[in-house]
């Protein structure tokens, strides 16, 4: 934890221009966007599915990034919010027959409320203690989902199978491709909203709390409100990601949302760079693809290989993808001068 904390506290020192350092320049953004739009047209459905999962986990990592990078609070309980979002979508689709697109805002709102309420008692905690409280939430969630009391809706341990939506208006594209572009639109919407949130008054309040809580309250920032608000926003976005995940995987079960997922998301945030929103997609790629690479190197020792790769990343680029991006930017600037 201390390493991560160090990153957070050091973060402002690294950023030359705090506001802009949270995002990418327009040119780079457009290149990334173009790649995300064009690549699916050229690859197999399976790769499209992987890219969909990439965007979904990127959203979840982004949500954690707003919480930790933005307001300086830790959470190891994101898997719980993800699960609530996933189950909300799945239950509304399968039991209430609701359109998949409509279930997402509902999942977001329910998770926002859940996160906001959870943020109330969590206010009294900070640093590692807060992390532990959220950890408790993550370990409790799979068992809560198994409770006989909810079984009628959740399907208990058997989970719920979700029907994948077809492309609307008779568009000539596969279910996977449609879902990908749908996810892409949602993701871009949330990304832009998040960037604007962090640049807004509220975003500045988040960052003020992160940097120095006492100074922030002296400046008139309602610390309690903004801390719980950050929790709520983060949980809401995670909920939307969970809902999308349920639709893409076509299945929800308690075993899919264990503490393992929360730790993966945390890992994704650190690898992507704490507080750097575009890093979310890099972090997401890391948690999806690196385990596969590790398995390719050695099946029996995949966990160990993953550990070594992770160690290398943390050791060589402790600030994650942001550090790589900054170095690349400086190199390009140097080349331009010459």
């Amino acid at each position: 934890m201390s390493a991560a904390e160090e990153v957070v506290t050091e973060a402002p020192a690294v950023e030359a221009v705090p506001k802009r350092a949270m995002t990418l320049g327009y040119g780079t953004s457009l290149v990334v966007l173009a790649a995300l739009v064009i690549i699916p047209l050229l690859v197999k459905n399976f790769i499209i599915f992987q890219m969909t999962m990439l965007l979904i986990y990127a959203l979840a990592v982004l949500a954690l990034n707003i919480l930790t990078g933005g307001s300086g609070q830790f959470s190891l309980g994101q898997s719980a919010f993800y699960a609530v979002g996933a189950y909300t979508s799945a239950i509304l689709m399968e039991h209430a027959g609701m359109n998949y697109a409509l279930t997402l805002p509902i999942a977001g709102i329910i998770c926002f409320g859940f996160g906001f309420l959870f943020g109330q008692p969590a206010l009294r905690l900070s640093g590692v203690y807060l992390a532990l409280a959220t950890f408790a939430l993550a370990t409790a969630m799979p068992q809560l989902l198994k409770l006989g009391y909810f079984e009628h809706w959740t399907g208990g341990v058997q989970g719920l199978v979700v029907t994948k939506p077809d492309a609307p208006f008779g568009l000539p594209m596969s279910q996977d491709m449609w879902l990908y572009y749908f996810t892409l639109v949602v993701s871009i919407g949330i990304y832009i909203a998040s960037v604007n949130l962090l640049r807004s008054r509220s975003g500045r309040a988040f960052m003020a709390i992160r940097d120095n809580e006492i100074a922030a309250s002296a400046m008139g920032v309602d610390v309690a409100l903004y801390k719980t608000l950050a929790f709520g926003v983060s949980a809401g976005i995670t909920g939307v990601a969970g809902g999308l995940g349920a639709i893409a995987v076509q299945f929800v079960a308690p075993d899919g949302y264990t503490i393992q997922l929360a730790i993966s998301l945390f890992l994704g945030m650190v690898v992507g760079g704490v507080g750097w929103l575009p890093g979310s997609i890099v972090g997401s790629a890391f948690i999806i693809f690196v385990p596969n690479i590790a398995e390719g190197i050695s099946k029996g020792l995949s966990g160990a290989v993953f550990g070594v790769l992770l160690f290398l990343v943390i050791f060589l680029v402790p600030h994650g993808a942001r550090q790589v991006a900054i170095v690349a930017q400086q190199l390009i600037a140097k080349l331009k001068k010459n």
Partner: protein
Amino acid sequence: MLSTLRIAAISAAVVAVAATSTTAFAQKKYDTGATDTEIKVGNIMPYSGPASAYGVIGKTEEAYFKMINDQGGINGRKINFVSYDDAYSPPKAVEQVRKLVESDEVLFVFNPLGTPSNTAIQKYLNSKKVPQLFVATGATKWNDPKNFPWTMGWQPSYQSEAQIYAKWLLKEKPDAKVAILYQNDDFGKDYLKGTKDGFGAKASSAIIMEESYEVSEPSIDGHIVKIKAANPDVLLIYTTPKFGAQTIKKTAELGWKPLQIITNVSASVGSVMQPAGFDNAQGVLSAAYAKDGADPQWNDDPGMKKWIAFLDKYMPGADKTDGSIVYGYGAAQTLAKVLEMCGDDLTRANVMKQAASLKDFAPDTLLPGVKINTSPTDFAPIAQLQMQRFKGQKWELFGDIISGDVPSQ
């Protein structure tokens, strides 16, 4: 008039059959994943994560197919066994199975492990018409050929095993006061349901206590003490191996001697009975369908001799007490039999058709008398078990082979 019509119909049918069978012999038929030289078989296993102990099954199957390939393959074709890690996580299982089907282009998916993972991929594989063959889970829902014609189980279902216990108790101990200790997941709940179904109308009077535990609990001693306080005379131990050993040990420590029945999953001599203490385990009952690799009574059994020869050559140093190796060997042998029956018609439809026409097939590792039978309406290959009692350092089988087919609801 009627008879002439009938003759005409029969002769037409004969001609049709003759025509199709000659074409089947004349040409080789392939779907994606099969060629003249190779059959590509996909698999997912939890090599990492909470259920990684089962990864041995995948490694055994890989070794078994290596042996088959060294012997020249099946009908001249080598088996290319592609196995990925799903870490026992449903989203990962979907990703890996899609990779197998769409990127590796396997002919079918064989023996994927875990009820949650299989539930997650079932709809996908059935919509793609890719066989999900011999799934490695004992849930009852895999025997559902009407709704899921591309999914087939392998081992006896947990519910049918539990029914066998209930029926045995009804017959041998009709006044039993039964307490059930079960794992709070699909595994434990399937056993619970099977037991209640088996007791039928007597369930509410016979079962005096149902106690559940979470798989994440480090020890279940507290539950045993609680159950003992209710004073039942039969304890059904519906647990996974670690907790099975703890239960047997704790009841002995408490000086409590109820009649104990433990799940087949936890009946391993090496990983349950020995850690629990042989003295403590005397008289415990269970049911079995496969031989125990650590049991000396099979030393001269021809099937187990083949199994040991296989282990010595292809998995040197493997732990013979690990039931997963017996399991993987039996499943892989069943698949080899199905592929042999497919001949040169290696289409996905024919793989399912042949898998659904196994008649009295007995893999080396199954108990004498337990046979694999399937039909287009019966997708539960192994449905027979035999009761056994722990005596000395091994299980002693007793009674008849009992069949416990349970249709999926």
